[in-house]
Symmetry: C2
Subunit: 282 residues, 2 copies
């Protein structure tokens, strides 16, 4: 990846990480576990999308930083709850014990709950983003996708390509779309180009996750690999084959890139981000 | 209780119930379980506080109704998660099977998550209430109180009166305070009188819960009784005695009532609500 893009990604991640470290609650066990769950050296792709979308639409960085923190808290809450024994039952997240393993299940439930609350706390100063985040996170968005994913585990037949695409558009796509649209919403601009970009990017991102579940190793990805195949779950790789999945992801990156045409050169970081989603190893 | 108050309580409960029935998500298992958890014939005391607080401050009822729905969703989410096996492990809530019993644990986690999201969705049109609800619901409010409650179960010594008062101020008091202050916040008025009212009311409410855990029966209260004594937990009754707890609750009702003095006759429903918290049987 071009050095300018990687620098921007690092700079944005550091900015949101510093803001989170300064502003997250502190002083008791739950707050400590919240920090553990959020301040984990993640890629901060969603925060990057918020900050770059804001820059693209002329929104001041200090207005966008809390929104970037919000989406990282929302995402972290979803991971803490997804990792619970009654959900995906994962012990490892980015190479570290998950919250219910390091503490206990009750703590993990409360930490996830409080992280979702914190996400909306961060949006108090940008109310235009509250309704859209609630829509993206709720039963017609992320939680709905998670429910479809759980239902698929006990279904008679594996999901079809159309079903898995619809599932992922909710489970991971909805938050990515909110992040990419945030700048347009804050600037009261047309969010349609960012939406088209985000929909292609989100799907490419998920396809690459499936590719990494087959090709990656636990040390680099920081999570258990091969678990989808093991569980007999339909994935983009099981449905399209490894080469087919990679080809589809590459097509989606082209679509995402073309959606940014109205912005010209200013959107270069976001173009690179689309490329990054399918070249990343973690 | 005076008929005028009981009518107002019923009218407000019906209004928020109808609004929730009209506007809650529908169409899949999680949405159905959300409706089950929220539309359960509860007293709607928190919704009543929002609507009466709004009326007292001259805020239009149609502005306050979504805020009343928000606090009922927030409260319902907390109950669904509190009932989980890893938390209080309750099978019965208002006489019906709890969500994880009727469905399963994963569903209960997601339903609670989505109900919290829905609470903030309902506040999208009243952004002044977003930050205060996040504060009331988060790690320095309700979730923090719940964490203290869980920690108390494995502590060496039962909680002192000061500790249990502080715990309850967060666990149940924070949402009650938000509800009572909502009208003042919407009207950009001084929330101090409503805060003083709510702090006394919230504590009286919790003392009455402890009294009902001793004196109530499962059929009327719709939940398991005697469970605190069984668990050896400190309660206001174990610390003050039954008569002492009742006397303290009555004192708090007087304090709550006096806090409403600036509002004169207009606050009669809220005065009656304070009385109601210690005379209710459910």
């Amino acid at each position: 990846m071009p050095e300018a893009f990687l620098q921007a990604l690092r700079r944005d991640a550091e900015a949101v990480e510093a803001y989170l470290a300064d502003t997250l609650p502190a002083g008791n066990t739950i707050a400590g576990a919240m920090q553990y769950a959020v301040l984990n050296g993640g890629k901060r792709l969603r925060a990057f999308l918020v900050l770059e979308s804001a820059a693209l639409h002329g929104v001041a960085r200090e207005v966008a930083i809390p929104a970037a923190a919000a989406i990282e808290c929302l995402h972290a809450y979803s991971l803490v709850h997804d990792d619970l024994p009654c959900m995906d039952d994962d012990d490892l997240r980015r190479g570290k014990p998950t919250v219910h393993v390091k503490w206990d299940e009750a703590t993990a439930v409360l930490v996830g709950d409080a992280l979702q609350t914190q996400a909306f706390a961060y949006l108090a100063a940008t109310p235009v983003l509250v309704g859209p985040l609630a829509l993206a996170a709720g039963v017609d968005g992320m939680v709905g996708g998670q429910a479809l994913d759980i239902a698929a585990e006990t279904a008679d037949a594996p999901l079809t390509l159309a079903e898995i695409t619809a599932l992922q558009a909710k489970k991971t796509g909805a938050l990515i779309r909110w992040a990419a649209e945030a700048g347009a919403l804050l600037a009261d601009a047309d969010p349609a180009p960012m939406r088209a970009y985000a929909e292609a990017l989100g799907l490419a991102f998920q396809i690459q996750d499936d590719v990494l579940d087959v090709e990656g190793d636990a040390e680099t990805t920081g999570k258990r690999v091969g678990k989808d195949a093991e569980a007999g779950k339909a994935t983009f790789v099981s449905l399209l084959g490894l080469d087919g999945a990679k080809a589809r992801a590459a097509e989606l990156v082209t679509i995402a890139t073309e959606a940014l045409a109205p912005f010209g050169e200013k959107a270069e970081n976001l173009r690179q981000a689309a490329q990054y989603t399918i070249t990343r190893a973690t």
